[in-house]
Symmetry: C3
Subunit: 132 residues, 3 copies
């Protein structure tokens, strides 16, 4: 398992970590199997989405911030970041990527994103690679 470091710069932000995940795979020497990218934080997540047009990420953040506002009736959590926890749980704490011929099997437009929902913060991501 490898642990990668990420510095986020805004409260809500998607950081393209595809290059980091590719380098981690290269170091492992695995040519066929899976790579699990895991977020150990409860106010951040991992997802896959288009990395060609940055407007896609803009629009997804716009939707999430509108659908899951920071202040909501009957919220109790004292830290004021319940929205961050909800976004993290819905987007999900990990992605499982496929590996073939020593490379990540990503679709033409796919990138792997670290999703910050309570930044800016110094964050980490774990990568576990299984296969041969």
């Amino acid at each position: 398992m490898e642990t990668l470091s990420i510095q986020t710069r805004r409260r809500n932000e998607f950081v393209d970590i595809t290059p980091l995940v590719r380098e981690s795979l290269r170091r492992s020497g695995v040519t066929s199997g899976i790579s699990v990218v895991y977020c150990p934080h409860t106010t951040a997540a991992i997802t896959i989405n288009e990395n060609a047009d940055p407007d896609v990420v803009h629009d997804m953040l716009a939707y999430l911030n509108r659908a899951i506002p920071k202040e909501q009736p009957d919220f109790r959590h004292g830290e004021g970041n319940s929205d961050s926890h909800i976004k993290a749980s819905l987007v999900g704490p990990s992605v499982t990527l496929l590996v073939e011929q020593g490379a990540l099997v990503l679709g033409r437009w796919q990138g792997v994103y670290f999703c910050e929902f309570d930044g800016p913060r110094s964050r980490t991501v774990h990568v576990q690679i299984l296969g041969k």
Copy 2:
């Protein structure tokens, strides 16, 4: 890894791919482990839901189309399918199924669905099976 082909027929549609995933497992000869079903598209996803009553899928699509409308304030992405990208990211790009005694471990009512959010299109799904 195997790649399966799927033809979708509507903009938003769930296609039951459980039989395809079962056949892929059979060909692999693996009897204990996991089967990762992965969608390489950024406007489609994979999920598990009830496959007995088709009304369950109808109701989930009705909810998604209402909760994530095609047109939204401050959307920028020029292709007009930001809703498709958001649905794809929230439903998720893959499912990890368990394998025991040479069979998929699915609950009594569970089926594996390819979720089209920007069809109709010709699509592919990758299946990676790990185990022994």
Copy 3:
């Protein structure tokens, strides 16, 4: 693969199953790899979220119940639990946890939750562990 039993007590409820998942890992003897926690039900799910302050779970349930109400226009499914199926599919049927040095690699505040969306019921969860 191991199957664990869970008894839920409310219609919507998150049950912390981290101790059960830890015991399952210990019994496996695996020291490096992954542990897949899988829900075979179509009206329940698995997620990871904070387990320090119970208000986080309270707030997430409050959000889900408001965002995905039980009664919605054009719902057809006769059992009246379409909301449960939608919540289950969006939260997701499984989590993939990392294993290193014989332990689950969980962040400081992370716990593994069984998410009941149509209880109370007697439920099961499967755990499949891969690695060495």
